[in-house]
Structure formats: C-alpha cells, structure tokens
Amino acid sequence: MNASSLASSESQTLDRLSHMAVQGRLAEAELELHAWCRREAPPAARVMLAALLARRDDLVAAREILGEPARANPDQLDPAEARLAVAILIKAGLDDHARRLAAWLYHTHGDDPTVAQWLAVMDVPGLTELPAVPDATVERLADELAAQPETVPSLVYALKHAPRTRPISLLRAATARITAHFEDQPQMLPLTQALAELAMLIGDEDDARRWAHRGLRLNPYNAVLAMLLGQLDDDEAAGPTAAQALKLVAQKFPHYPDVQAAYRRRLELDRQSGRAA
C-alpha cells in the first residue's frame, strides 16, 4: 500500500483484514470490508474486497466494488493492488479496462522488474502494444541524467560497442526528455550528438538527421555529426547537404583523415547517385 497516501489507522486496518483473510476468517473480513466500502474506504480496501469476492467467483460484485478506483483513479493503487485489479478485470472479461490499467501499471511501475515480469507472464491485454521502455523508467533515468549529463556520451559510446535495443530506446527517450533543460548551455551539443548517434544505432534515420542538423547549427565544425550526416540521405528542408557539412569540417580540419575520407566518400556517392538519376 502507498504508505504516503494511507493514514496509519487505515494501513493498520488493512493489515488486520489481510491477516484475517490469511487465517481463513473470510466472511468476517468480507463483512468488515463491505461496511468500510460503504463509507469512505481507500482503493486498497476495495481491491481487497474485490479479491475476496472474485475468489468465490462473484465477479459481478467484484467488478462493482472495484469499479472506479481501479479504472478512473489508479494513482492511489500500489503495484500489488494494481496487479490484483488487472487480474480481476481480466477474469471479469473487461479486457479494455484491464488493458488500460495494465498500461498504467507498466508506465508507472514498469521500472520494477517484478512488475515488468508479472505483466509479461500474465500476458496482459495489450502487452505487445506497450513500448519497450516504461515511462516510469524513462522519467527516472531522465531525472538522473539531468544531474549527470556528462555520462550520456559515455553511455552512447558503450552502446555503440555493444548495441542492445532496450537500453538504446531507454537512453534515447530519457536524453530527449532532458534536452529542454540544457537548451542554451554547453551540454546541449554532446546531448544532440548523443541523440543523433542513438537514432542512428536504432535505424531511425530521420531522427538522426534531425539531431545531426540541430547539433551542426550549434557547432558547424562538429566532425562526428558531419560524418554521421555523411551516411544519410540529404533532406534540404532539414538543413545543408551532407557534402556541404563535410566540406566545411574538412576545410577546418585538413589533418583529420577520417573527415577527409568521409568527405571524399560522400562526394563519390553523390556523383554516382547523380549519374544514376
């Protein structure tokens, strides 16, 4: 139960009722829960009562009791209660409600491996439509990265050597979220570079191009971004062509063999594609 959202007397009552249920005093617990739910009971009490009702297949009553707190106001549920509510909704055949609550559970508590594993094992409705990374994890990582933005390029560097889809998606989403904090600060360039490289790693070329151009607007002589752009098709609406960007960097750093080679490759590529066209 959410300790913060529950008064200690309510928490004690819930513990007592839970203990009662474990000891088999179900009717007694159920009666007390019914009386409580007729007044202002916390959602946890409603979920507990719904569980007792569902145990003896009284799904209509369970749905009625569960109704609003589980569906309309899930924020008051802790992960265990939300899991129970999802199960009761599935059992009651309310797959749409179960899908919504499961998605909420995933996004809010999906950073907890036990919750993520439970959702996967249960194969909850809509599981395949859920993103690879839950919002809760993205949010949390974003908070942490905002305090240590200098770690982002190193994490990207590691992922380039051992690419894995889930961490890439997670880092990409969290980094994108923190860019607003560093809009006019020196950290913005490494962040945009990181986002362009992550997009490239995952094969999202449009996004890679977008971030590369954004980074080059901050520093037109960024060799990494220019070389990255050199691997992508041109989109004049997004910014200068790759050849133009590489030329600028190549002229600035005539002793960078990587940049010179990338520029020559790009020119050759453009020449071939022009001939093909």
Partner: protein, 446 residues
C-alpha cells in the same frame, strides 16, 4: 375312487395351480392355468385379476389392462345386478384399482396412474402400500413436492420406515435442505454422512463439522481411508476458516490409494490453492508440481505452477512451465487461468511488496553505467591503445562513485593521448596531478 371335478372345482384347481406357479415365478405355467380357468368361465373375476397380475409380471402392462377391463370390479356376488346402471363405489376393491394404477404406470400412462392412486389414497388414507406406490408415481412424474408430502403421510403412519425417511430427505435436499435434515430423523452411523452433507447445504457448518469429525474419527479407528470423505470434510474446514485442518484432511485424502490420478491431481490442486490462501506460494508450487506430474495435460495445474514460480521468483521454472501451458491452451484461456489465481494469492500483499520496494530503490542510470563499465572493460582489453575507451570508462566510474578507478583510467587515457582535452578536464576534476603509468598497464609497457 376318482370323481370327476365339478365345473367350479375345475376352475378353482386351475386358479390354485396358477397362484402357486405365480408364487414360483413360473409365469408361463401360471398363465396356462389361468387360461384353463378362463376357458371354463371367461367372466371369472379372480381369474381375470390373476391374469392381470401375471401379465404385469411378464412386463405386458397393456394385456394386464385388457384383463382388468374384462373384470367386473366387484367382489364375487357383489357385482352389479342387471338393473343397476352404475357400480356402487363403496364396493370397489382397492387392490384392483391399485393393480390398474400399476398397470397404467407400467404402460407409460403415469398421469392416469397417479390420478387413480391419488383417489385411492384419499379413500384409504391409512394404507401405507397405496401411499408408497403413489409417492413412487409422483417421483416418476417429477412431482417432487407432492411425493415428499405423500412420504410424510407414510412416515406418520409408520415412523420406522427408514427407506421412506431417506427418500423424503433426498427429495427435499435441494429445495428445503432444512426440512430434508429434519426428515432424516435420528442421526446414527447409517445416515451421518447424509446428515453432514445436508448440514452443509443448510449452512449449518459447525454441525457438519461435528459430523465429519465423528466420521473421520471412525475411519481412523478402523485404519481405513476415504478420499471423498476427507475432501468433503476439508471443504467444511475451509469454509469455517480452519485452513490448517483443511490441509490435514486433504493430505489424508492423498493417502487413499484407490483414488485415480485425476482425482489425486484435483486434491493436490485444492491443496495448492489453500496454500495460496495462506500466503505460501512455494508450498503451493510444490503441490501444483505434484499435480502436473499426475496429469501432465491439465492446463489448470500448469497455470498454477507458472503462477507460483512467478510468485516465488523462479524465472527458469516460469519459462519451462509456461512453454507447456502455452502448448495446452489458447492465449486467452491461459490469461484467464492465471488471472483467476491472482485473487487467491492476494492475501499476502505485504510479502510481495518487499522486492518491489527493493527494486524501486534500484537506479536505471546505475544499471546502465554498470553495463557500460562491463562493455568498456571488454573493449579496453580489445583496444588497449585507444584513449577514448579509457576516458569513457573513467567517466562511468566517476558516475558510479569509483573515483580511484576513474583516476587510473583517465590517467591512462592521457598517457595514450596527452592532447585529449576532455580527458584532461576530467583529470583536473579528479585532481590528478601528473598522469603516470598505471600498474595494470606496466606489463604492457614492458
């Protein structure tokens, strides 16, 4: 000296033989003797009655009815006179009407038979034979309430009739279990189990519990096992909240080796579910495991095993059991089976909270940094001369709070590339005075 028999004597002798043959169940012979009597007097009352009885015994109810139709219905000598147009109802013989009712019932006309038996019962309310027959017909006709009332009349007349008492109790079981229990009369060893079940139906659980305890005690004294009885008794214990006793009784049921594998698996599933109720997923998992070994094609047992393995945080077992479960059932059904188990385990939310809270403390950044450090270590051993590897390794170590290691790696990066600006900035941050050779790399330098 043999005298020829008179006409009447010959008929009586034939009927005597017929009676004896009927008593000996020699139905063909009995019929022959009756035919002999009827050949001599086709309207002979006793002969027609006897013929009807024989026909009934021979499962020829329609012929029995034909025989009765030719019967005058009246006692010899009391028959209607030629001037009488209607018989005197008071002179009707109940045994003849009863015979007709029986024949009608046997011929499939239960409605007519019951109506006839009811009129007989009205006229002869003290005749238990008629009442019993009527109750039988009413039961056959699906008139359970009336049958129970008729049997109540029988029991008023003959309280020692245990069969009627049991039957009446059975009839009342569903509609009026309380009345059924009362109808059972005094409880003894012959009807205690029935009484226990009726107590359950009436929600008189403490009484049921007492009966089951008595029955199980007797079973124990006789050193016998009865899985069905143990399971029934366990159900009552569970309803009374005596989970430990219910578990004992279910475990006792498993000792009955006459049980089929399917029945034992069912008992194990009940044990598993009880363990879930008491917040013991590991024991529950063991019981489900026992069930899947007995019935490998039972998706319920596999779903239980998957669920308990998940609860007990055994991912390999989850994966193995889930493979079988997915093979045995559809995706939707599998989801339902698992969802059904969740409320049963909901009694122990506090235990489930512990790993959740522990996991919540785990930082996603720290996880990523730890992974990155592992990757960087491998990359560094693969490309020992690349300064950027060592620099990024140092950044990760700093973020993980391992500044000593970080200083070592950043120094090494600067050794490889003294103009590495970012490494220098980091080194300055770490207040590294002079980049010196790292002990780990001394051997490489040599």
């Amino acid at each position: 000296m043999n005298h020829p028999l008179s006409h009447q004597e010959a008929i009586e002798r034939a009927l005597d033989h017929a009676q004896l043959a009927l008593a000996g169940n020699l139905l063909d012979a009995a019929l022959d003797h009756v035919r002999e009597a009827l050949r001599r007097d086709p309207g002979h009352t006793q002969a027609r009655l006897l013929e009807a009885r024989i026909r009934l015994r021979r499962h020829e109810p329609r012929l029995a009815l034909t025989a009765l139709d030719q019967h005058t219905y009246y006692e010899p000598g009391a028959g209607p006179g030629p001037t009488e147009s209607a018989p005197d109802p008071h002179a009707v013989r109940p045994d003849v009407d009863m015979l007709r009712a029986t024949a009608l019932a046997a011929a499939g006309r239960v409605d007519l038979a019951t109506a006839l038996a009811e009129s007989l019962a009205e006229r002869f309310p003290g005749d238990t034979g008629i009442l019993r027959a009527l109750a039988g017909m009413q039961i056959h006709d699906g008139r359970v309430r009336e049958a129970a009332e008729t049997l109540a009349q029988v029991l008023e007349l003959d309280p020692s009739d245990r069969a009627s008492a049991r039957l009446r109790s059975d009839l009342l079981t569903h509609a009026q279990p309380d009345a059924a229990l009362d109808a059972l009369g005094p409880i003894d060893d012959t009807n205690r189990r029935r009484a226990a079940r009726l107590c359950v139906s009436c929600h008189r659980l403490p009484e049921a519990q007492a009966h089951y305890t008595h029955l199980l005690g007797e079973l124990q004294d006789a050193q016998e096992t009865d899985a069905d009885l143990c399971c029934e008794a366990a159900e009552v214990s569970e309803q009374l909240g005596e989970n430990a006793q219910a578990l004992d009784r279910l475990h006792a049921a498993l000792e009955d080796h006459r049980q089929t594998d399917a029945a034992r698996a069912l008992t194990l599933r009940r044990i598993a579910r009880l363990y879930l109720h008491t917040g013991r997923p590991q024991q529950s998992g063991r019981a489900y495991y026992g069930a899947v070994r007995l019935t490998p094609d039972d998706p319920l047992a596999w779903a239980g095993l998957v669920f308990c393995a998940q609860q007990a945080d055994k991912p390999r077992l989850v994966s193995r059991a889930d493979r079988v479960l997915r093979r045995l059932t559809t995706r939707a059904r599998r989801r339902e089976l698992l969802a059904e188990l969740v409320p049963h385990a909901a009694a122990a939310p506090l235990a489930a909270d512990t790993p959740t809270e522990a996991a919540a403390l785990h930082s996603p950044l720290q996880r990523m940094l730890a992974d990155a450090a592992r990757v960087m270590k491998k990359t560094a051993s693969k490309y020992p001369d690349r300064a950027d590897v060592h620099y990024h390794r140092a950044v990760c170590d700093v973020a993980r709070g391992e500044t000593a290691d970080a200083a070592r790696w950043v120094n090494h990066a600067l050794t490889l590339n003294p103009r590495y600006a970012q490494a220098q900035t980091l080194a300055d941050r770490l207040t590294v005075a002079e980049p010196g050779p790292d002990p780990e790399f001394v051997s490489l330098d040599i």
